[in-house]
């Protein structure tokens, strides 16, 4: 399923956050959403999840109706103290759950917990888990309904390095295997460069740039959007990494003449 935005504006009552967005997210590809704090990344994800009203055309495979099978992982990690991991993940299948849980629902939970490597947590209360473990549990919840669209708001913010890699690897794999249309909010530019197929850079409530990671992640764009000078390093195998150097004075009004060039 593809998602297409044509001149979409989103906001809260009396407070527009995003305006005039034109964007397309494709099935089988991961779209990384990046941008500074407050630029509207989470607002866009909420709008895509049908949690916020929008104007313009927001189309899911050509239809204005969000799909029933939509995996959404919000940013907040509020977790009830006395629900087990099994119960929380089961809730991802809320639309089909009966009073007595069916074997097919348990099997779906089993598969997704196994895929994320957290099967051993099934009996634990979510409230007792670490922030990173909770993030994995809520990712499992987003995946368990076998969604056509996967929307993840900062899914690796509380994870250690190893789990960041593991989670994003899983996200990329399931996106390709199940042909999901995946949109992920990320703050880590290197993770974005490595795992996103496409990148949308938001700035000041507008889409500043859309393209492949190489096209979007440039020193100029990062200076404009984040107000930082960053250098790109390229390894022998071609992998790239961005290293922020300093915060640019005068941001967000930086004259073009003083923007840093791209350094290799």
């Amino acid at each position: 399923m593809n998602i297409e935005l044509k001149n979409v504006s989103v906001g809260y009552v009396g407070k527009p956050v995003l305006s005039g967005l034109h964007l397309k997210a494709h099935a089988g590809r991961v779209l990384g959403l990046i941008g500074p704090n407050g630029c509207g990344k989470s607002t866009l994800i909420k709008a895509l999840a049908g949690q916020l009203p929008s104007t313009g055309e927001l189309l899911y495979a050509g239809s204005r109706q969000p799909p029933r099978a939509l995996g959404y992982m919000p940013q907040d990690l509020q977790a009830p103290m006395a629900l087990t991991v099994l119960e929380v993940v089961l809730l991802g299948r809320l639309g089909v759950l009966r009073l007595r849980v069916l074997p097919v629902d348990l099997e779906a939970v089993r598969q997704v917990l196994r895929q994320l490597g957290i099967e051993q947590l099934a009996q634990r209360y979510v409230g007792e888990l670490s922030g990173g473990q909770r993030q994995m549990v809520f990712l499992a919840q987003a995946l368990v309904s076998d969604p056509a669209v996967l929307l993840l708001d900062e899914p690796i913010s509380a994870l250690d390095l190893r789990h960041q890699l593991e989670v994003l690897e899983v996200v990329r794999t399931v996106t390709q295997q199940r042909q999901l249309c995946t949109v992920v909010v990320l703050h880590d530019l290197n993770a974005t460069a490595r795992y996103a197929d496409d990148v949308a850079l938001l700035s000041g409530g507008q889409l500043a740039c859309l393209g492949t990671p190489t096209e979007v992640l440039t020193a100029d764009n990062l200076a404009l959007a984040f107000g930082v000078e960053a250098r790109r390093y390229t390894a022998d195998d071609g992998a790239t990494a961005w290293l922020p150097q300093r915060a640019l004075p005068g941001w967000p009004n930086i004259p073009r003449s003083s923007r840093p060039g791209q350094t290799q």
Partner: protein, 349 residues
């Protein structure tokens, strides 16, 4: 399900189901014992075995039969039903407001019922119903009004849990102040009657009142079964529940209607009993967790057991006198609750 049957998910599911069954069985046994004990206890102490024979219809002495069936059993069963209604309404409230301090008592619904009752007693303001039911009907009406007040005032901007809790606390103070005002205006006889009503008493229980209570309880069951998973989802927070497809506002509204009915009938017939609705859900949470399939029924069972045992205590603490049930539940329940909280290894809220 996979063939092995011993993987972590299967194990977690089976263990949770076993735990729920064991708790239900244990609570059921406790309820039966409490019922027999409550029926046997009173000014004339009856042998428990004779009471059991009478309750089971196996024949007993005609005097015992008369005491059991005409006087004691309606009171004992009302204690169970009221306790279940208060426990259940407290559990629903704590779930939909995601707040462990929520109960129909702390959020002004019982206070609303109390004010409704005081209006009849002091000023004679009542709906055109038989006199025997005037206080009860007014209490139900004002419990409903308080519930509606919490919902609509708290939801004026957005029906968030915080807004609803604040509205409930405001209404609690309002209704308490209004009841105090009525008490100030009341004649000594009316004042005594109001105070006694507010203490809570099971002694005016009758079979018809019990039938009304049980009907409301039974009506709630299918409505709650329908929403049980959605209520569990609400424990994840409003945003996450909405993302899972829950219409949070509509769910809260349906639940407020149920809370209003459950609290209204419970308080109307026995007066204000504050402690059960607050504590029963906490005990249930410790026993079964917050999967609402176990949490709601166990809250009802715990509420029933607490009130039934409090009823026994109210008749035995001071020989020859019956201490109002509302006082006993607090006097015995508070230390019990503190003990539970202190000895609990886990933090559940």
């Amino acid at each position: 399900m996979s063939g092995s049957g011993t993987d972590a998910v299967t194990l977690a599911y089976r263990n949770a189901a076993r735990k729920r069954s064991a708790v239900a069985l244990g609570m059921g046994t406790l309820l039966c014992l409490a019922l027999l004990l409550d029926t046997a206890t009173g000014p004339a102490r009856l042998p428990v075995a004779d009471v059991a024979r009478s309750v089971l219809g196996q024949g007993a002495d005609s005097t015992i039969e008369a005491i059991v069936w005409s006087i004691r059993l309606p009171v004992a069963l009302t204690a169970l039903a009221v306790g279940a209604a208060l426990g259940l309404s407290g559990a629903i409230m704590q779930t939909i407001l995601n707040n462990p301090l929520a109960s129909s008592y702390t959020l002004g619904i019982s206070a609303g019922a109390g004010f409704g009752a005081a209006l009849v007693i002091v000023l004679g303001v009542a709906l055109p119903v038989p006199e025997a039911y005037a206080i009860a009907v007014n209490a139900i009406l004002f419990a409903g009004l308080a519930c509606a007040g919490v919902y609509f005032i708290g939801g004026a901007r957005a029906a968030t849990a915080e807004g609803l809790v604040l509205a409930g606390i405001a209404l609690l103070f309002l209704f308490q102040a209004l009841t105090s005002l009525l008490q100030l205006m009341a004649s000594p006889e009316s004042l005594q009657q109001v105070v006694f009503w507010l203490f809570g008493s099971l002694q005016k229980s009758t079979w018809p009142k019990l039938a009304v209570l049980l009907s409301v309880l039974l009506l709630c069951v299918p409505l709650l079964v329908r929403d049980v998973w959605q209520l569990s989802a609400l424990k994840l927070g409003d945003a996450r529940a909405a993302a899972l497809g829950v219409n949070v506002r509509a769910l809260r509204f349906r639940c407020f209607v149920l809370i209003s009915a459950l609290t209204g009938v419970a308080v109307a017939f026995v007066g204000t009993i504050g402690f059960v609705g607050l504590v029963a859900p906490h005990v249930a949470r410790m026993l079964t967790g917050e999967d609402q399939r176990g949490f709601l029924p166990v809250s009802a069972l715990v509420g029933a057991a607490l009130l039934s045992l409090a009823s026994v205590a109210s008749k035995t603490v001071a020989p020859g006198a019956i201490i109002p049930i509302g006082i006993v539940t607090a006097l015995i329940g508070v230390p019990f609750f503190v003990w539970l909280v202190v000895r609990s290894r886990r933090a559940y809220w």
